[in-house]
């Protein structure tokens, strides 16, 4: 007998530890829900939260990862960027779980699948932040998208099903673009691994038409996911139709995850083409902030308004990324953190004002909110001020950061456009404040008085203030995290 040595890549699983924990928790929750039909949803919530916390612990442990920069055959990167992006996402997931638990209990649509679906979506989101190969990016994108399609249609309302359908169709469409982009990249460089793509592109001297087409297609794919103009059409409908708790989770989570992947793909794989893609990015950035802000003015439904505002925020992140350097990445990370905080908080308030389901999401139902609940009005004010970028909130520091990055890189016109758009945006944020403080409540309907939810929403509120007053607490970490390893 001849001893055969089989060579295989050494398998190091630690860098995908957070995903393994999340998926395990998801499977346990899934089985728990299926086997024990009468299981208390509080138990499922606890299991899921435990999974999120466990994943966070594993992610933190990866901060000082000393091993190879990519593992599993170059598929997954182990760097601090992934750690920070994951932590933001896990925070979003924890809030999403609490929101979902509360929302569906109030609307009487409790189903055990909620928890595994949320956890799987989160696993997809966290995986994408560490993806070092376009195939893994696509895989993770599909994991998160499929879970979100289902979650969007989780309510029995017609609007929810319609939103789910729209999201699915347009999502599939964007996935096709993305996949075609990957194929083009492979054609141009002979690889789907980000580092190999970068090397191949750096070595090329001739025409790069194929690679540029790939850049464009991938940009379209990401543009859909982050809801950048002109690929934003699905956002208002889906955000409005989806159950508010799910909207909160996906508006924050998807954007963070897709931007993390965007950064990695464009700053690593297409780094040799930086001069070609920055004009695209800042053009999209400028158009997105303007269109998002202007269209938000015309909305009469608070969820739609927040949807357009989230489009505008995607534009601001792109303003930061247009700098195409470490400063820009750090600024974008901070912006994403601030954005996730304020959008989660704002949708949380929307949820409580609606009391049950989607009854009261029109802007008119915010009239006189200060009279009915000073606490909720105060929190909403804080989130809206943060979105408008007014100190001392996280949104202010975030905006300063991205504009600074863009101006340092010489893109002051796009910064100016961004700042002017934020003035237009301020108009609709203060319109909500006008309603809350300056008008009389139309009826005596009290908003949801759940104490647990109030405490839950107090967390992003506190974070919005802390990040606004002491951004130094996290900026140091974000700076360290803005170096991508490949």
């Amino acid at each position: 007998m001849i001893a055969q040595t089989l060579s295989h890549p050494r398998l190091v699983f630690a860098p995908i530890g957070p995903e393994l924990v999340l998926v395990s928790a998801g499977v346990i929750a899934l089985l728990g829900g299926a086997v024990l039909r009468r299981i208390d949803h509080r138990a499922l919530l606890s299991i899921s939260l435990a999974g999120v916390v466990g994943a966070a612990i594993v992610a933190v442990a990866l901060w000082n990862w000393g091993g190879a920069s990519t593992v599993l055959g170059g598929m997954v990167a182990a760097d601090r960027f992934a750690v920070v992006a994951r932590l933001i996402l896990l925070g979003v997931a924890a809030m999403g779980l609490v929101y979902g638990f509360h929302y569906f209990r109030r609307s009487g649509e409790e189903r055990a699948e909620l928890y595994p679906l949320l956890l799987f979506a989160t696993a997809g989101m966290t995986l994408i932040t560490a993806a070092a190969d376009l195939i893994v990016v696509f895989l993770a994108l599909e994991i998160l998208s499929l879970s979100l399609y289902v979650l969007t249609g989780f309510s029995r309302r017609l609007a929810s099903a319609e939103a789910s359908m729209k999201y699915f169709l347009l999502g599939a469409f964007s996935s096709a673009f993305f996949l075609y982009g990957i194929a083009m990249v492979y054609g141009a460089t002979g690889s789907t691994r980000l580092s190999s793509i970068a090397h191949a592109l750096a070595g090329q001297t001739g025409s790069q038409g194929l690679a540029l087409a790939a850049v464009a297609l991938l940009a379209v794919g990401f543009g859909f996911k982050v809801a950048a103009v002109p690929f934003h059409m699905w956002t208002p409908d889906v955000y409005q139709g989806a159950p508010t708790a799910v909207t909160a989770f996906m508006s924050a989570g998807t954007k963070v995850a897709a931007f993390a992947a965007f950064v990695r793909v464009f700053a690593v794989a297409f780094q040799p083409l930086t001069w070609d893609w920055t004009p695209i990015v800042w053009t999209i950035a400028g158009v997105t902030v303007v269109v998002g802000s202007v269209l938000a003015i015309a909305q009469s439904d608070v969820k739609r308004m927040l949807a357009y505002s989230s489009i505008a925020h995607a534009g601001f992140v792109l303003v930061g990324l247009s700098a195409a350097n470490q400063e820009g990445i750090g600024a974008a990370l901070f912006y994403l953190l601030a954005y996730a905080t304020m959008i989660l908080g704002a949708f949380g308030v929307v949820m409580l004002v609606s009391i049950r389901g989607e009854h009261r999401t029109s802007l008119a139902s915010y009239a006189g909110l200060y009279r009915r609940s000073p606490f909720l009005a105060g929190l909403m004010t804080l989130f809206l001020l943060s979105m408008a970028g007014i100190p001392p909130t996280a949104g202010f520091i975030a905006k300063v950061n991205v504009f600074r990055a863009a101006i340092d890189a010489g893109h002051w016109p796009v910064a100016l456009v961004g700042v002017l758009a934020s003035v237009a945006a301020a108009f609709f944020y203060i319109r909500v404040m006008v309603l809350m403080y300056m008008q009389e409540p139309p009826d005596e309907l009290e908003p949801d008085r759940s104490l647990a939810m109030r405490l839950a929403i107090a967390v992003p509120a506190l974070l919005t203030l802390v990040l606004g007053l002491f951004p130094g607490l996290v900026l140091g970490f974000l700076d360290k995290a803005s170096v991508l390893r490949w």
């Binding site: 101006i407 404040m433 300056m438 140091g476």
Partner: protein, 510 residues
């Protein structure tokens, strides 16, 4: 003792108490806010005591690193220009709160907004770090918006939104300009910074400096307000509650003028000289236009508001003369306008509480029914129109003197503003106090003890400054002279600037 920090943040301490204490009775909330603002005033006197009038630079500087990676520092200091702005703020705040005693709706929120506003305003005057300044500058926006919009008159929402958007629009340009300056400051020996003192040494190309000047200018011109960016002011002043109008006129408008002195002149001296003619013409248009429009108002609050446009024109005119008298007079006039117009708004508010009208044609004969009120109103009116012996005379005289040295025609036209002021103010007094007593307003009580208590300190200050202006001038003058010299000398102290003829605004591209 960290006087500046203490003065700045003391009012803020009251905010969480007011917001969180749900069961707080309205009376207690009022008294508490008053107490906090009085203590703040006393503490700010400590700052005055420590101030060395002989120094022309910044003093009592306090600093700490705030956000290292942003190069954002907590850096505050005071000089002769900002000293009296801060004191004006802390002096008027207890008066404004006392004037709000009749507010019944959401008292805790109202008082909290005022205290928050006070911290923002003081911080704006003391900040020496551009980004810190901007932070305070923006933080003022929301409480003021709330005060106008929630407790104002009939068209309050419109006025509040207009105020908010105008200011936001101005500050948008300001933010971009600040960040551009910052990104250019990497060449300084200390590395990139927002420190105003360091940035004054930055060598900018002429074109870049001029564009940046304009960006700063728009932000502050909206605040001042300079013609033609003044249109938010009459609405905001008219619709705001009395105390809101007082603070708006007395302090918020000064932030614009202060910003012009502190930032436009010191950071961009060449551009300041280049645009001086243009700015002065705008100022003179504002003086005459504000006065003429005030002349035809029948709403007394609107009349006072337009008089502000006119008076602030004097301030800017003096400041942009770049002469010692002009600059000192401008700064003094900022204080004077705060006192006189503040007092006018207080008095108008008192009348409105009784008559429930601001229409001059419906008043009349108040001199007979409310003799104390009418006497005091006349006194303030005379102060506002620049009667010698009262405060405005000194400031306006210095401004016109300083302008004359530079441009006789502008000085002469500006002087006509004083004449017009006499007409519209005395006419307003006449329509209000003289004539037959109206049936509807025949039985109004004269001023109450509270009203006396809040107006007397202002009257005293008007008289003191009028009779002994050196009290202020001695402290203002060194700093004002320094700024004027700096602009005249044409360049920041060291290393000046390549002249670039390229039209591209901000120099090097990506």
């Amino acid at each position: 003792m960290k006087w500046l920090t203490l003065t700045t943040f003391l009012p803020l301490v009251g905010v969480p108490v007011l917001l969180a204490w749900r069961g707080m009775r309205d009376d207690l909330a009022r008294a508490f806010a008053l107490l906090v603002s009085v203590i703040t005033f006393i503490v700010s006197l400590g700052m005055l005591g420590r101030f060395d009038g002989a120094l022309s630079g910044f003093q009592m500087i306090e600093q700490a690193t705030w956000v290292r990676s942003l190069h954002l520092r907590y850096l505050v200091g005071v000089d002769g220009v900002s000293l009296f702005m801060v004191l004006l703020t802390t002096f008027l705040m207890p008066i404004a709160i006392l004037a709000s005693w009749k507010i019944e709706k959401n008292v805790r929120l109202y008082m909290a907004a005022f205290l928050f506003l006070e911290t923002g305003m003081i911080g704006t005057f003391l900040a020496l770090d551009l980004l810190l300044f901007f932070l305070f500058f923006e933080a003022i926006l929301f409480p003021m918006y709330l005060i106008i919009g929630a407790w104002g008159g009939e068209r309050r929402v419109y006025a509040a939104v207009k105020f908010f958007l105008f200011t936001m629009l101005g500050s948008a340009f300001l933010l971009v300009a600040i960040l551009v300056l910052y990104s250019k400051s990497g060449t300084l020996p200390g590395g990139p910074t927002f420190d105003v003192r360091e940035l004054a040494h930055l060598s900018l190309s002429t074109t870049a400096a001029r564009w940046l000047f304009l960006a700063f200018f728009v932000a502050f011109a909206v605040k001042v307000p300079l013609f033609p960016l003044h249109t938010w002011l009459p609405d905001a002043h008219t619709e705001a509650p009395t105390a809101g109008s007082v603070i708006l006129a007395a302090v918020l408008l000064k932030i614009g003028a202060y910003g012009l002195i502190r930032f436009n002149l010191t950071l961009f001296p060449e551009a300041s000289r280049h645009f001086a003619g243009f700015v002065q013409v705008l100022a003179v248009i504002g003086i005459v236009y504000g006065a003429v429009v005030a002349l035809i108002q029948t709403d007394v609050k609107r009349l006072v508001a337009y008089s502000s446009v006119s008076h602030l024109g004097f301030v800017v005119l003096g400041v942009f003369a770049f002469t010692q008298q002009g600059m000192t007079g401008g700064v003094l006039q900022m204080v004077n306008h705060g006192l006189s117009t503040g007092a006018l708004f207080l008095l108008v508010g008192m009348v409105y509480e009784r008559t429930h009208t601001r229409d001059l044609s419906e008043m009349g004969g108040l001199g007979r029914t409310m003799p104390w009120f009418s006497g005091i109103f006349l006194f303030v009116t005379l102060s506002s129109l620049g009667l010698p012996g009262l405060n405005n005379f000194v400031g306006e005289f210095l401004v016109i003197l300083g302008t004359f040295a530079r441009n006789r025609a502008l000085g002469a036209i500006a002087a006509s503003g004083v004449v017009l002021a006499a007409i519209y103010l005395l006419w307003a007094y006449q329509r209000m106090a003289h004539g037959p007593v109206r049936e509807a307003h025949a039985r109004h009580a004269d001023l109450s003890v509270r009203e006396f208590a809040l107006i007397t300190p202002v009257l005293a200050m008007i008289l003191v400054i009028g009779l002994y202006p050196r009290l202020l001038l001695d402290r203002i003058d060194p700093s004002a002279t320094r700024v004027a010299r700096q602009v005249q000398a044409g360049q920041p102290p060291a290393g000046q600037a390549a002249v670039s003829s390229v039209p591209a605004p901000f120099g090097e591209g990506p």
